[in-house]
């Protein structure tokens, strides 16, 4: 067996480990093992690459890796669980940036002989430079929005779509020029710069609530860029792994859109989350908001038969997951049936709440998905909404004027009592008022979620 065969075989092993890693993600019990298997596959691929006959400069490459691996590991370890979404965006961005840089360097390798660049190789270089750069810049903006360095509200101006369309057309033009003409390095540079700008402009008008969808899409983009790089380098492991990610990222993006009952086009171009005057208020309720005290809520909870906790992003921000579990323990000791209702897009990522509650040792059989829990709300004594907003807004069911009309929601308004823990009356990510708050069965407990829950625990204990 030649060296090339051995390397190809090693790459095949890597591909198998990646497929297994994704396969094992179908159950929480095997998922972690799957991730480990994928990591081992990655190590195999890197080792095999070093063994390639054309690879030199080991020392400088190894030094760079030795410096940046701990940086990545440290960032990943230090990040708070609430900041996970932006961390994923950041790591996604650097991957896209790497693909674009590889394309830039590789073009130089092939291009010194003008006019001799094969069409397929040229196309792959253009694609990986373009997609990689868009993913890099877009991910950084997504990171900025989630980290609240950039306004989470959509940033729009007149003629925006036209301007973005024109920029994209110009980029395609540059790409065609690179493929057709005598290859000039400057054109690739211009393509990358233009694509970076496009990445920024493309994400700015998208609201913070939709960032998870954007990250998922850009994740798919980076996968595609990696696959395109694979075509340039004739490297199967890049093609397959990149495409696995491209396909799965696309599917995940579609699934997330479906969970919000919105098309991808609406997510990307709808500037969703602009504050609209007059939206909301809606039917039901007398327009007045009733505020309450922890003591009253404690009584309600302690004497309930069934309590359904509805967590949202506010819980994540306040880091209240551990206190929520303590409250639930307290209630369960009193014989209350406590469940958690998880909306598919609660928080800022699908599954975000699952991760947080799992961190707080909430047994996952107590977590119910929307379809399972919705029929249970009419038999629920208290729905305890902690920092969730848009996913509980009944306007999605009954107000055709509402921007979120048609989005599947948790039917908390069908519970006998609704207690909403909320910092203030500010609208949620979608930028609209929540009709739930003025319903007659709803009371509000204002304050930081962690404080409020702590007070609830002590009040329940005193009963």
């Amino acid at each position: 067996m030649s060296r090339a065969d051995a390397i190809a075989l090693a790459y095949l092993v890597t591909i198998v480990t990646f497929v297994l890693a994704l396969r094992f993600l179908s159950s929480p019990t095997t998922a972690r093992r799957g991730n480990l298997i994928g990591a081992i596959g990655m190590v195999i691929a890197v080792a095999a690459t070093f063994a390639q006959s054309g690879v030199h400069n080991y020392l400088s490459i190894l030094i760079v890796m030795a410096v940046f691996a701990p940086i990545g590991a440290l960032a990943a370890q230090r990040v708070k669980m609430t900041a996970m979404p932006q961390m994923v965006a950041l790591f996604n961005g650097v991957g896209g940036g790497a693909a674009a840089l590889v394309a830039l360097a590789d073009f130089h390798r092939i291009a010194p002989d003008p006019g001799r660049i094969p069409f397929d190789v040229g196309l792959s270089i253009v694609l990986s430079a373009l997609i990689g750069s868009v993913s890099f810049a877009g991910s950084l903006i997504a990171f900025g929005k989630l980290q609240e360095l950039v306004s989470g509200r959509p940033i729009t101006y007149p003629g925006q779509k036209l301007a973005n369309g024109a920029l994209l057309a110009a980029l395609v033009g540059v790409g065609v020029a690179i493929l057709a003409g005598p290859q000039r390095q400057a054109l690739v540079g211009a393509l990358i710069l233009g694509a970076l700008l496009f990445g920024v402009l493309f994400v700015l008008p998208i609201g913070g609530a939709d960032m998870p969808v954007v990250i998922s899409l850009l994740n798919a983009f980076t996968g595609l860029a990696a696959a395109a790089t694979g075509f340039v380098l004739h490297n199967d492991v890049l093609i397959v792994s990149g495409m696995l990610v491209g396909a799965s990222g696309t599917l995940l993006t579609i699934l997330m859109g479906r969970a919000m009952n919105r098309s991808l086009a609406n997510v990307l171009f709808g500037a969703f989350g602009t504050i609209r005057a007059g939206a909301g208020a809606g039917p039901g309720g007398d327009g007045a908001v009733r505020s309450t005290t922890p003591e009253d809520v404690a009584i309600m909870l302690a004497y309930a038969k069934r309590v359904v906790v509805v967590p949202g992003y506010g819980l994540a921000v306040a880091q209240a997951q551990h206190d929520v579990r303590r409250l639930a323990d307290e209630l369960e000791q009193r014989g209350v049936d406590v469940r958690y209702a998880i909306h598919p897009v609660a928080g800022r990522m699908p599954g975000h709440m699952n991760v947080l509650l799992a961190e707080a040792n909430v047994p996952y059989p107590q977590l119910y998905e929307m379809e399972q829990i919705n029929p249970e709300f009419p038999e629920t004594d208290v729905a305890l909404v902690i920092g969730a907003n848009d996913v509980t807004n009944p306007a999605a069911r009954n107000d055709p004027q509402s921007p979120i009309y048609g989005m599947p929601i948790l039917d908390v308004d069908k519970a006998e009592h609704v207690v909403v823990l909320k910092r203030s009356m500010n609208p949620g990510f979608a930028g609209i008022d929540n009709a739930l708050y003025t319903e007659p069965q709803t009371v509000m407990l204002f304050g930081d979620a962690k404080d409020s829950v702590t007070k609830l625990i002590s009040s329940v204990k005193e009963l």
């Binding site: 890597t14 994704l22 990655m42 996604n92 994740n219 990696a226 699908p350």
Partner: protein, 99 residues
């Protein structure tokens, strides 16, 4: 070229197939896990950075790609592992009863 396209198309189907079995509650780790996998672009960066006799600025660009790719791979897998660590099944120990 055609072989590579064949491989590409098959990978698309495998991707769709495998992902459609992942439950919603694991979608965040899934996003993070696939994020780590596309760090495979590091392999491409190493190949380009390993080419002999390149202009200095090309070496720098390629090594920058290695740096970014490394962070993508290491950070991606570590973040995913941290998330999945939380999904471990609770042992029926001294913890308050959930039944």
């Amino acid at each position: 070229m055609i072989t590579e396209l064949t491989v590409l198309v098959l990978a698309i189907f495998v991707g769709f197939e495998v992902i459609s079995k992942v439950p919603t509650m694991l979608h965040t780790p899934l996003m993070s896990g696939t994020n780590a996998i596309h760090g495979i672009v590091l392999v491409g960066a190493i190949v380009v950075a390993g080419l002999p006799h390149q202009a200095t600025w090309i070496r720098i660009v390629a090594l920058a790609a290695v740096a970014l790719g490394t962070m993508n791979v290491v950070g991606g897998f570590v973040v995913t592992d941290r998330m999945l660590h939380m999904f471990r099944r609770r042992e029926p120990g001294p913890e308050p009863p959930s039944e």
